[in-house]
C-alpha cells in the first residue's frame, strides 16, 4: 500500500463537505428537470406495474378457469385418458375360488404364446389375443398363479369372446392369495371414452362408472364456459372532492366478463369512461386596438402627359396593441376519455331462483386515452399573447381506484339477468399530475348491467 501523501491528507480532509451553490437560474432549470424526470420515472413504474398486474391477473384467471372447468379432476381425467395401457388383473383367492369351475370356452382356436403349459392360461391368452377389440400380440402375464388357480367366469369369457360392448371392459382387479402378486394382462389402447366397467373375476360383480357424459351441442356448452357470463354495463358516477370546475358526473359503459362458482365470482372487462373538465390557462396579452397603415416606400413615376413626377405610396397594414400588458384566464372545456379495467371479486350471500344479493370489491385501473378541447370562452384571434401558463394541471395518464359495492341480481330468464350495483369508489391518487390543493377524490356510482350466462 502506498504511503499517503501529506498533500492528499490535506486535500481529502479540507475538501470534505465543500459545496458550491448553483446559481438561481440553474436551480429553477434543475428543479424543473428533476420534476419531469421523476414524473417520467413514475409513469414508467406505473405502466410496468400495470403490465405485470394485468399479466398476473390474466394468468391467474386462465389458471382458475382451467382448473375449475375441469372440476379439479385433472388426475381422474388423466387416468381415463391413460387408456394407452389398461391393465387387467386377475383376482385369485384360493379359498374363494370355485375349484371345480371349468373354463367354459373350449372351442376356441388357441394361439399359444405363454411359456407355461397351462391350458387355462393358454386359453385366456388366446381369448384375449383373439378379442376383436384388442391387438393380437397382447401378452398374458399370469404372475405366480398356478394353473388351477386361474379362474375365468362367464363375464370374462363374454369379454374374451367379444360379447361385451366395446366400451365395457376396463379393468379386472384382484390379488393372488399366496404371494399377493398380481396377475395381469396389459392391453394396448382401447377406445374407452364412454363408460368403464370393473369386473371382479371371482364374484362376477360388475361396477360401472360414468367417465364422460355426452356433451350437449353448441359452442358455449363446452366446459370452459361453465359459470362464465358476459355483461353490458353502464355506470353513472358522481365524484366528490375533485376539482370543482370539473364535471362531477362521469359516464362509463363497457363489456365485462364474470366467472362465478359456488357463490364466489371474479369480474373483469373493459369499459370507456367520459368526463369533462375546465382547463384554465393564465394569459398575459396586449389588447388589440386596431389596424393602421404604415408607409413602406414611395415610388415616383414620370407622368409624361402632365410632365411631372407622380408619387406611388406603398403601405403595410400594421396591428396596434395596447402598451400595457393585461392578464386573463382562459377557460377551455375539455373532454377526457378513459379506458377502465376493473378486477372485482365478489360473493353472493343470497342466491335464489329469482334474485341474488352479494357484495363486490376490487380495484379499477383507468388509463387516459384521449383528451379533446370542446370549447373556449376567450378569443385570442386579435390580441397579442405575451405569455401563457397553465393553471389547471394536466390529468394523470393512469390512476387507480378501489371500489366496493352491493350487487343485486334480478333473474330475467334462464340466461339473462339484470344487475344493479351501487358502488363507492376511492381514488388512490388525484386525477391531476400536480395534486397541490386537490384531494384524492371519492365517488358514488350505480353499475347497471344486463348479464348473459354463456352456459347453464
Amino acid at each position: 500500500m502506498e504511503a499517503k501523501d501529506p498533500l492528499d491528507q490535506l486535500l481529502d480532509g479540507a475538501m470534505q463537505g465543500h459545496s458550491i451553490t448553483p446559481s438561481a437560474t440553474s436551480k429553477n432549470e434543475h428543479l424543473d428537470a428533476m420534476r419531469n424526470a421523476i414524473m417520467i420515472a413514475n409513469k414508467k413504474h406505473y405502466y410496468k406495474r400495470l403490465g405485470l398486474t394485468l399479466f398476473s391477473i390474466a394468468a391467474a384467471i386462465t389458471a382458475l378457469l382451467l382448473f375449475l372447468t375441469n372440476e379439479g379432476e385433472f388426475l381422474k381425467k388423466e387416468t381415463s385418458s391413460s387408456s394407452v395401457n389398461k391393465e387387467i388383473t386377475i383376482e385369485k383367492k384360493s379359498s374363494d375360488l370355485p375349484k371345480t369351475d371349468p373354463l367354459k370356452s373350449t372351442n376356441l382356436n388357441l394361439s399359444i404364446e405363454d411359456r407355461s403349459n397351462s391350458s387355462k392360461t393358454k386359453n385366456l391368452n388366446n381369448l384375449m389375443t383373439n378379442h376383436p377389440l384388442l391387438h393380437h400380440d397382447t401378452p398374458v402375464n399370469k404372475g405366480n398363479l398356478s394353473d388351477d388357480e386361474i379362474n375365468l367366469d362367464d363375464e370374462m369369457l363374454d369379454f374374451a369372446q367379444g360379447k361385451l360392448r366395446p366400451n365395457d371392459i376396463l379393468s379386472l382387479t384382484g390379488t393372488d392369495s399366496h404371494n399377493k402378486n398380481l396377475a395381469s394382462i396389459t392391453f394396448p389402447p382401447l377406445n374407452l371414452e364412454k363408460r368403464k366397467t370393473h369386473l371382479n373375476l371371482l364374484t362376477g360383480a360388475r361396477k360401472e362408472d360414468t367417465v364422460n357424459k355426452v356433451a350437449p351441442k353448441g359452442f358455449f356448452h363446452n366446459k370452459p364456459f361453465k359459470g362464465l357470463s358476459i355483461a353490458v354495463e353502464y355506470s353513472p358516477e358522481y365524484i366528490f372532492n375533485g376539482n370543482q370546475e370539473a364535471d362531477q358526473l362521469i359516464h362509463s359503459g363497457g363489456l365485462t366478463f364474470e366467472y362465478k362458482r359456488k357463490g364466489y365470482s371474479i369480474r373483469t372487462g373493459l369499459s370507456l369512461s367520459v368526463t369533462g373538465d375546465i382547463m384554465r390557462e393564465s394569459i398575459d396579452y396586449k389588447s388589440y386596438l386596431g389596424t393602421t397603415k404604415i408607409l413602406d416606400s414611395v415610388q415616383f413615376e414620370w407622368d409624361a402627359d402632365h410632365r411631372k413626377l407622380t408619387p406611388v405610396f406603398y403601405y403595410t397594414d400594421q396591428r396596434i396593441f395596447e402598451d400595457q400588458i393585461s392578464t386573463a384566464v382562459l377557460k377551455t372545456k375539455m373532454r377526457y376519455t378513459y379506458l377502465q379495467i376493473p378486477i372485482v371479486l365478489g360473493y353472493d350471500f343470497i342466491s335464489k331462483k329469482e334474485y341474488s344479493l352479494g357484495f363486490r370489491t376490487g380495484a379499477l385501473c383507468q388509463i387516459l386515452l384521449k383528451s379533446e378541447q370542446i370549447s373556449t370562452d376567450y378569443s385570442v384571434e386579435n390580441d397579442l399573447i405575451i405569455n401563457m401558463s397553465q393553471v389547471t394541471p394536466d390529468r394523470l395518464k393512469l390512476h387507480w381506484e378501489a371500489l366496493g359495492g352491493i350487487n343485486l341480481g334480478i333473474r330475467l330468464s334462464d340466461r339473462f339477468k339484470l344487475e344493479l350495483e351501487p358502488q363507492v369508489r376511492y381514488y388512490f391518487n388525484s386525477v391531476y399530475e400536480k395534486s397541490d390543493g386537490i384531494d384524492k377524490p371519492w365517488s358514488l356510482s350505480l353499475r347497471t348491467a344486463i348479464t348473459y350466462k354463456l352456459s347453464h
Binding site: 486535500l11 475538501m15 459545496s19 451553490t21 448553483p22 434543475h30 428533476m34 420515472a41 413504474h45 400536480k434
Partner: protein, 193 residues
Amino acid sequence: MTEEQDLIKACLKGDSKALESFYDRYAPVLLSTCMRYVPVRVDAEDLLQEALIKIMSNLRNFDFRGKGSIEAWMKRIIVNLSLNFLRNKASKNIFIYVENEALLDLNDTKETDFEATDLSLDEIHRLIGELPIGYRTVLNLYVFEKYSHLEIATMLGCSEGNSKSQLLRARALLKKQIKELRTQKEALPVYGS
C-alpha cells in the same frame, strides 16, 4: 426510517417541496465534486442537471444502505458523467504534460508543512481546477474518490504507470501553486492589525 429515506420517499411522490429540499441539500456538494473535474461553471451546471435527471430517474431503484449512501451514489453518478464529458471534450487523450514540467520538483513528496488553515477551501478548489486535465482527473479519482491506480487506469484507458506518473506530477504542481499562493498572500500588506 431516517430523514434521508423520508426525503427520498417524498421525492418519489413528486412532492415539490421535497424536491427542492433534496436539491438544496445535495446539489451544492455535487456541483463542488463536478467542478473539481470540470472547472468551467456553465459546463459543470449542465452536468449537474444531467446527473440530477439520472438520479431522479433511478431513485426508485436506489438501495438505501444507511446514512450517506445516497450521497456516495450520487457522487459516483456525477463523477462518471464528468469523466465522460472530459473524454468527449479531450476526444483523444486527456493526458497532457505541462510545458514547464521540467521545473517541477517531483521528489518533493515528503513535505509535511501543509496546514488546512493556510488556505481556504475555495482556494484549494480553484487550484485543483487549474491543474491540467489529466493531472486533475487522476488526482481527484485517487485522492477524493479513493480509486486505486489500477482502477483509474481501467477507467481512463491508460496504463497504471501513467496514472501514477500523472498523480506525482499533479501533486508536485499543486504544491508549487500552493507555495506561490502563500508567497503572494504573505507579500500582501495586512490592514487593521
